[in-house]
């Protein structure tokens, strides 16, 4: 038993050394250390990370309640901390490091950095990734395999396709959860089971606004204004939208081909960019500013000395945490299996701070290092 205790203490001491090395690197790069409280309101994380995340939380509360939790991650507490500070809305570079708690893996050390309020997004993205990789290296990380994604590029592409709203929602949620593309695009029977077909036929002569008004009127005759948080107008709109979806129709053959081509792109950043431009010219879906930003960022990364040719950009990079709004990345030691989780991950989340109470959107990008995963094959 003594040996086990000693081995555990040794692991702890090693992880603590790694954490300290990473923090020193962050300080040298001009990031100010902040440490939010260990005890956090649970609702904060459930709201932003989804109810699924409840299973990962250590819940507690006064008198046996469950409204508090042990800090499961840093980004949200650091963001709140920043918003409550006099720096709110101004550029601020923050580093953190300490224990996080997740059911299933218990207590572990995490360190990382967040950059708020910088309008030069491409440069900030490249800097955060660069500093995070430097810190991981200082902490003794072995060679990393790096994967990149870009939520704004995907959004720009889907916007150009002008899809039916129901299809757009289905693709957005399907991709976010990493579902296979073929299943997301599978033509399905009308979700509403065809019950709206008769109504729609009856309404065919009426224009869209008129039809919506009629359904709204019917609901209001039944005495329904708002039930379960959805207004009669909203229900009417989706009802007609569903009724109008042709039974068994997919997104359309042309669009499907385009979608498949777009989501097959997986290559080093420069090659991926060339493929995206090619696809844009060929099919008339120019990605414009989003792709320009992508190239600018690649330029900044190369200027920092990052080896772009060793990175893989993928249009299918899943973003299960849906506050990511742009650049995304994850890195794992090449010797570590994919299912063991990334050792370093992060990205841009411009929309998060507004949902946490900021007046408007505040640019934000960050990275987190899982200190106990830096050791290669576990």
């Amino acid at each position: 038993l003594w040996d086990v205790t000693q081995a555990r203490d040794k692991d702890r001491a090693r992880d603590q050394e790694r954490l300290d090395a990473a923090l020193a690197q962050f300080a040298a790069a001009g990031f100010t250390r902040r440490e939010p409280a260990l005890l956090q309101p649970a609702g904060l994380f459930l709201d932003r990370l989804g109810e699924d995340f409840r299973g990962r939380l250590y819940l507690t509360g006064e008198g046996g309640g469950a409204d508090l939790c042990l800090r499961p991650e840093y980004t949200i507490p650091i963001s709140l901390d920043y918003l409550a500070s006099p720096m709110a809305g101004q550029p601020a570079d923050i580093a953190y490091g300490g224990p996080i708690f997740r059911a299933g893996s218990g207590e572990s050390l995490q360190t990382g950095l967040e950059s708020f309020g910088r309008d030069d997004r491409a440069a900030a993205d490249a800097e955060i990734l660069g500093v995070a990789l430097d810190a991981a290296k200082a902490a003794g990380a072995p060679r990393f395999a790096l994967r990149l994604g870009d939520a704004s590029l995907v959004k720009a592409f889907l916007d150009r396709l002008d899809l039916a709203p129901a299809w757009r929602r289905r693709i957005d949620t399907g991709l976010a959860r990493g579902a296979p593309l073929a299943r997301v695009l599978e033509p399905s029977a009308r979700q509403n089971g065809g019950s709206g077909a008769g109504v729609l036929a009856a309404l065919e002569k009426v224009d869209a606004t008129g039809a919506r008004k009629l359904v709204e009127d019917l609901l209001s005759i039944a005495g329904i204004s708002t039930v379960g948080g959805r207004s009669a107008g909203e229900i009417a709109e989706r009802f007609l939208e569903q009724a109008a979806l042709e039974d068994g129709a997919g997104v359309g053959a042309d669009k499907r081909k385009l979608i498949e081509a777009f989501f097959a792109i997986e290559a080093a950043p420069d090659a991926a960019s060339a493929a995206l431009r090619g696809l844009g010219q060929e099919a008339g879906v120019e990605l414009g500013a989003a792709l320009d930003e992508f190239d600018t960022r690649s330029g900044f990364m190369a200027a920092r000395g990052l080896a772009l040719e060793d990175m893989t950009f993928s249009t299918r990079f899943p973003h299960a945490i849906d506050y990511y709004s742009g650049f995304m990345f994850e890195a794992r030691p090449v010797s570590r299996r994919a299912e063991q989780g990334a050792a370093l991950s992060g990205g841009r989340y411009d929309a998060l701070l507004k949902t946490l109470g900021a007046v408007g959107e505040i640019p934000a990008v960050g990275a987190a290092i899982f200190v106990d995963r830096l050791g290669g094959a576990a």
């Binding site: 409840r54 509403n192 609901l219 959805r230 229900i235 569903q242 299960a320």
Partner: protein, 340 residues
Amino acid sequence: MSGFPEGLSSSPGQRSTPGPLIVAAPSKGRLQENAFAFFARAGLELQQGRGARDYRGVIVGVEQAEAAFLSASEITARLARGEAHLGVTGEDLVREEIAEPATCVELLTPLGFGAANVVVAVPQAWIDVRTMADLADVAGSFRQRHGRGLRVATKYVNTTRRFFAQHAIGDYRIVESSGATEGAPAAGSADLIVDITTTGATLAANALKTLDDGVILRSQANLVASLKATWSDAAREAARLILSRIAAEEEARKTREIRTTLIEVSETMFREAQSRFDASLREVPDGGRFVFSVPAGRAPQFSDWLIAHGAKTVTSGRLDYVFRAENPLWNRLAARLAGG
């Protein structure tokens, strides 16, 4: 509360002395009446200690067994912690309150009462939402529209989380509710609910409807055994005795004894009786007199068939018990306790 802390459900019971078998039974209401009737049918009388408030009692005629009278939720908790060996509780509670049911308990047999469904119900006014796919679609765009996720009122926190995850719904919040859940959407404290319903009348009265594929679990009362309890020899013997009576009553209830006299019989006839009616010979034929056992539902057809094959008279009778040396309920439990 979000179900069981893992530590509680994974530690075996702390009974150091070889203790008696503890059978946990519901302490009040319809569930108690039904549970008592179930044990009574098997010839087992549960006797509560002095006065209705005493939560301990005995099982008449079974030494080394104690009864404990508790709420269904408490019965589930004690089975999970290994503080009771056998118990009567709803499958809904087993699936909700025990983190990994398969490792803690064994559902021995459904009891035919306490039937209810755990369902996803939305306001009837949501005429555009009939399936879980519709709900996933609405949940996906709800935050954008309203600045918050859908709220689901329920006491089945874990059950809801699993079911919603299966249907790829991630962006929602659970509002815990321990009573009058069906009123939450009208009161504005939630958008939809996950709740237990027997007839659906309460849902309808609250202007709610069950989604077409929104039945999460068809639950009923079960006889449940704890795998975490300390199974002393005395407890095993008492359990074997109780389970053999329950199995004997169950088999007797589900089968009929068919008696007749046949002049001419052949192997082919027996084989046909077996394959067409699931009928088997219960006794060695004695001078043309045959006794068959057949599932209750097939007794009339089998009798007709016997008449067509030369029988003059066929009688069908109910039995009180059919005891067998091989007891399927006990065998299953014994196998699980042995680590199977």
